[in-house]
Amino acid sequence: MNIFVLMKRTFDTEEKIVINNGKVNEEGAEFIINPYDEYAIEEAIQVRDKVGGEVTVVTVGNEDAEKELRTALAMGCDKAVLINLEDDVEESDQFTTAKVLAEYLKDKEPHLILAGNVAIDGGSGQVGPRVAELLGIPYVTTITKLDINGDKATVVRDVEGDEEVIEASLPLLVTAQQGLNEPRYPSLPGIMKAKKKPLDEVELDDLDLDEDDVVAKTKTVEIFLPPKKEAGKILQGELTDQVKELVTLLRTEAKVI
């Protein structure tokens, strides 16, 4: 089976956000594989181990993403592809990323494409469904279970806490929700092997795309931090009195009850 994983490199969840000159400061920050994409990678490896085939992990970004691609290879992916837009594209959005990914995938005959349901940085959740639509294949988002049987897939989808059991045929794109699996840590032999696995770099030219084809549809004009919260009021006294005071404050001062 020809399996692809769409991966994004993101800030570590424990990182604080600092803004310099209108941009998020990336200097010194820890980067990780987007946590939802880790579930996608793990699931892809499990499917391959069950039904055979090959897992290719693909990312759109710059050279810095090679580290995360190597991590994915160390987890067990077979090949990695970096679509490097750094020299060609100044401003991109989800339209850009999806267009580039779809263009790369269209002649690769994927049977199954997996992605995280959302990236924890931009948080749009658009790229997976956009890629499926551009490739003309069906998709199921926020999945918590995947069973492949021949060219059929049975999927459990998380819908705001409820579950839908969905049937679909391959080729199919799915996006991973938390709970799908427990992503493995790369093993030491895995890390050694990963160094020898193929990591290809592709640019816009290689995809028969012009800059004009991928011009972003939206633009960020400002980035700002939420207003800093003043330290709140820690209540004092007997516990029963504190509780009474809290209820009064919520009614009269905060006016939320």
Binding site: G123, Q126, Y139, T142, K217, L239, V243, V256
Partner: protein, 325 residues
């Protein structure tokens, strides 16, 4: 510049979702005096049309079909494409719900359009519309503009206030007949796991538990407090990882991002990744044994104490309040 804007209405448990009314308000802002057309999609949904008009829609288009009973991207995609072809809108607004998140990228791609998702505020500046949305799960915000063409956004529940109901408003309700076919994903079964009524992302009050809850049973007093307040129960990653509750309750950078009116954090230490998911709530109450816990830094009100003592007392106090009012 006036625009014609359509907004998609969603129904949950037989009622219109509040975010669908908020979407109408957002559509009005984008329309700048132009027409706002609400769209109802489903098997039998027309009865909700008047409520949409009362909340600001100028017109309602109803698309009904047996194949639209359960949501599928193909079925709803075909329905919405038919509406777009008939109405030729210059703006589209969905709620940023499971359905909205799933369908909007597909429709935007079909329409070769951009999409600004998870919008929490809209403002006009020098004739341009700026859309504010959280990034890094609320650790920061960005303002986005649409370069040209269709303005397509999804709005986060609980942020853009709905217009108040005015039953004197009138508007035309029309049906659009659509052929729904070739569904490539089939919903075989829907398993209800959440409590009837209050969804975490739309809840006005959330009572959340962390590691301090200590067990699955430990969530019971939190549920009782949530019930009294008409709210929902959430959890930190610590509580989910420990197996005290389902991952669907998780609030944080991995998990749900929520902005209720009142967030009561019980036994939650306040890791950065949790704060990202809830620190933009309007009012935050923290209950924790550890006076040094990080959660107190973002809390408006804090009680240092054992949640198993404090939460039942709170429930009792709120019950008394209900009896008196």
């Amino acid at each position: 510049m006036t625009r014609k804007v359509i907004s998609l209405a969603e129904i949950r448990d037989g009622s219109l979702r509040n975010v669908s009314l908020e979407a109408i308000a957002a559509a009005k802002t984008i329309a700048q005096g132009g027409e706002v057309v609400a769209v109802l999609v489903g098997e039998s949904v027309q009865s909700h049309a008047n409520e949409l008009i009362a909340h600001g829609a100028d017109r309602v288009v109803v698309v009904e079909h047996a194949q639209l009973k359960a949501y599928t991207p193909d079925g709803y995609g075909q329905a919405l494409m038919a509406v777009v072809e008939a109405e030729k809108p210059e703006g589209i607004v969905f709620g940023h719900t499971a359905l909205g998140k799933d369908l909007s990228p597909k429709l935007a791609t079909k329409l070769n359009a951009g999409l600004v998702s998870d919008v929490v505020a809209i403002e006009e500046k020098d004739g341009e519309l700026l859309f504010t949305r959280p990034i890094y799960s609320g650790k920061a915000f960005e303002k986005k503009v649409v370069n040209d063409g269709l303005i397509f956004i999804t709005v986060r529940p609980n942020n853009i206030p709905a217009l108040s109901r005015d039953d004197a408003r009138t508007g035309e309700v029309t049906t659009l007949s659509v052929d729904i076919k070739d569904l490539r994903t089939i919903v075989k079964e829907i398993v209800r796991k959440t409590a009837e009524g209050v969804d975490l992302s739309e809840a006005k009050v959330i009572v959340a538990g962390g590691r301090g809850v200590k067990s699955e049973d430990g969530f019971k007093p939190l549920q009782e407090l949530a019930d009294v307040l008409g709210g929902a129960v959430g959890a930190s990653r610590g509580a989910c990882d420990a197996g005290y509750c389902d991952y669907s309750l998780q609030i944080g950078q991995t998990g749900k991002v929520v902005t209720p009116d009142l967030y009561i954090a019980c036994g939650i230490s306040g890791a950065i990744q949790h704060l990202a998911g809830m620190s933009n709530s309007k009012v935050i109450v923290a209950i924790n044994k550890d006076p040094e816990a990080n959660i107190f830094k973002v809390a408006d009100y804090g009680i240092v104490g054992d949640l198993f003592e404090v939460v039942p007392l709170l429930t009792e106090e709120f019950k008394k309040l209900k009896v008196h009012s």
